[in-house]
Amino acid sequence: MDIFEQLHQQNFITRQQLDKIKLQQQQPVSVHWDILMLLYLGILLATTALGILVYKNIDTIGHTAIIISIGLTCLACFVYCFKKANKYAPVKVESPNILFDYILLMGCLLLLTFVGYLQYQYNVFGNLWGLAVFIPMVILFFCAYYFDHIGVLSIAITNLAAWLGITVTPLQILNQNNFSDERLIYSGILLGAALIVFSIITMQKNIKAHFTFTYKNFGAHILFIALLAAMFNYHNIYLVWFLAIIAVAYWFFNNAVKKNAFYFLVITVLYAYIAVSYVIIDLLFAIPDTSAVYLGAIYFIGSGIALIRLLMFYNKKLKQDASI
């Protein structure tokens, strides 16, 4: 027998509620996401094909024609967005329709292509490479706030990092950065810290407060990875960097517990674990014989289990606080 029928028989739900549930179950099947996925697939196929076609026929089409058409399409997207957009407000603003978000996103992506193409083909900005990233970045930040679009905000932050010379796209963050580059490490630390400070300001001033997570997320990962890189790189003074990581982790941990943020709790614990393990392994290397390997294995088993217990404890604590 159906669970709800049983609940009805045991008098947990009334006849009307049971009927309502039955009605719910007979509702039409929603193919919302299926059709949207289909639409993306079609757009992806068509645009990729167009890209290949253009690439193959570049000699006959010519760069100028392509740049102009990209620029015009981009312009059309932005004109559409400005016409349709709801009025700016510091709180969350709903987008006027389904299509709006994607057209805005397309406009922003085309803008990046447009500026990049101009610089690559005609060297418009000369040797001022920074300017070719800086100008679209400012426009992107403006669009993210004006049209209230978190996706555009993420692209803008990625561009901000690119302006400083760092790659922050999730898949490339570890293998496309040269972590032994001193300038990169310091700009990473500064950028990460700045984003976190900005997330706090966003929250407190209540300007687009729903952007807080995006700033904080980028900030946390960039800061932790840059600090870890600094620790691995400057071996002579690594304990200083270790203390810095622990200090940052301590702040994040308290913040996560206070805000009931499981996600930040987990990443903080894992980054801090990497730092602590590095120090422990470094100390174990000082032991000359093979007992260091045994001690290392025991450390990882013990610490792994201890952290499991710690996370379970905080899982319970955070869940209980969620009920207040």
């Binding site: 709800f4 739900i13 929603s30 919302h32 059709i35 196929l45 614990v269 499991i308 379970m312």
Partner: protein, 384 residues
């Protein structure tokens, strides 16, 4: 046979169903609270992110406990490694049983990783040495072991692994039985998928097997995909060349049959899915239809790839746009309406909060004091 108590599993199920009904606003908060209070479950499933972290940390603990056992045992030749891997497999399985009986972990990250590690070390034990008919034996043992894990821990992933092992087992048997076996292999594998599909469908209707419905659904998806793969021209042609002897080259008559099946199966799935309003078949049918197009393109090329892509892309855009317009008002039992968006976010958080306060079994409330060093925590290494 289950590692979990029936009541815990059943109550968890009731809680899930009730929260769905509450989010859909079919029942009010009062009824929801009453249901949760009357159906407490002791099963331990932490937050999603915590689960991932627990899984990662368990991998660390498992790897290094394996390393430690290896160092202590000093195993150096192949047979010693077989013994070591078997020992680790049993050790992790025992740890899993202990943790579940004391702490009731249910999809908590820890138990999932331990289950997988147990399987991985079992496979490693089999493949360290080259025994006769090693792969057939391995797949048979795997099919049985994973089936046992699925039954004991009501785990869908294990059900999938079990069916894959069975499929490989039958395939390898066909390979060993000479030319005839090789020639009929596709039909036998199709038959296998169809039989498993029918069995799991029958199981899905059995109320006594309520906790395995998810496992059955997972296996059903796999059976309809593997049924298609068993008949796909590309798979048979290229796979046959690799696996089977040259003597078993596909006869031309068979080729025609497989071409027909390759084209027909996705279409049939799709139509069946639309008629039965089954998204599983609609989605699978569409994905397999793409596979069919790629198969045809592999053997017969009409236009350059980018032209094909452009045409396909435009057709798909037009179709999906037409569907959006067409299904604005629900028709034939389908609608474009986003049911998830209808769930009010506030109501959703309220559901979570109510679920936190009620719906917990009192007996387990004090179970997780940190740092106490009880026997359960040391499970991963406790029995070596």
């Amino acid at each position: 046979m289950q590692a979990y108590k029936y009541n815990n599993l059943y109550n968890k199920r009731v809680q899930q169903k009730a929260s769905e009904a509450f989010e859909a606003q079919s029942i009010d908060a009062e009824a929801y609270k009453k249901i949760l209070e009357a159906h407490p479950s002791a099963l331990y499933t932490p937050n999603f992110f915590i689960r991932i972290a627990l899984g990662l940390l368990t991998i660390v603990a498992v790897l290094f406990s394996g390393l430690l056992v290896w160092l202590i045992s000093g195993a150096s030749n192949d047979y010693a490694f077989v013994a070591l891997f078997m020992f680790l497999c049993i050790a992790y399985y025992t740890a899993l049983e202990l943790l579940i009986s004391t702490k009731q972990y249910y999809n908590a990250g820890v138990n999932n990783v331990l289950m997988c590690c147990s399987i991985i070390f079992l496979i490693a034990a089999f493949f360290t040495e080259d025994f006769a008919n090693n792969d057939i034996l391995t797949s048979a043992v795997m099919a049985l072991f994973c089936l046992w894990l699925c039954i004991r821990f009501t785990d869908g992933f294990m059900a999938i692994l079990s069916f894959i092992s069975l499929y490989i087992f039958v395939l390898l048997i066909c390979q060993k039985t000479g030319v005839i076996g090789e020639a009929v292999a596709p039909f036998i594998l199709m038959l296998l998928s169809a039989v498993v599909y029918l069995i799991t469908t029958a199981f899905s209707k059995n109320e006594r097997l309520l906790f395995y419905h998810f496992s059955c659904k997972a296996v059903r998806l796999l059976t309809i995909i593997l049924f298609y793969c068993s008949a796909n021209y590309f798979v048979i042609n290229e796979g046959g060349k690799k696996m089977f002897s040259a003597a078993a080259n596909m006869p031309a008559a068979f080729g025609v049959i497989f071409w027909i099946l390759t084209v027909l199966i996705p279409v049939v799935y799709f139509i069946y899915g639309i008629r039965k309003k089954d998204l599983l078949f609609i989605r699978t049918g569409f994905a397999l239809f793409i596979a069919t197009i790629l198969t045809i393109r592999y053997y017969y090329t009409f236009l350059p790839a980018e032209i094909d892509m452009l045409i396909a892309g435009i057709i798909i855009i037009v179709i999906s746009y037409a569907l959006i317009k067409y299904l604005r008002t629900p028709k034939h039992g389908f609608s474009f309406e986003n049911t998830n968006r209808n769930r009010k976010e506030l109501l959703n958080t309220e559901a979570v909060i109510i679920a936190q306060v009620f719906g917990k079994s009192n007996a387990k409330q004090k179970g997780f004091d940190f740092g106490g060093g009880s026997s359960g925590g040391g499970g991963a290494t406790g029995n070596y």
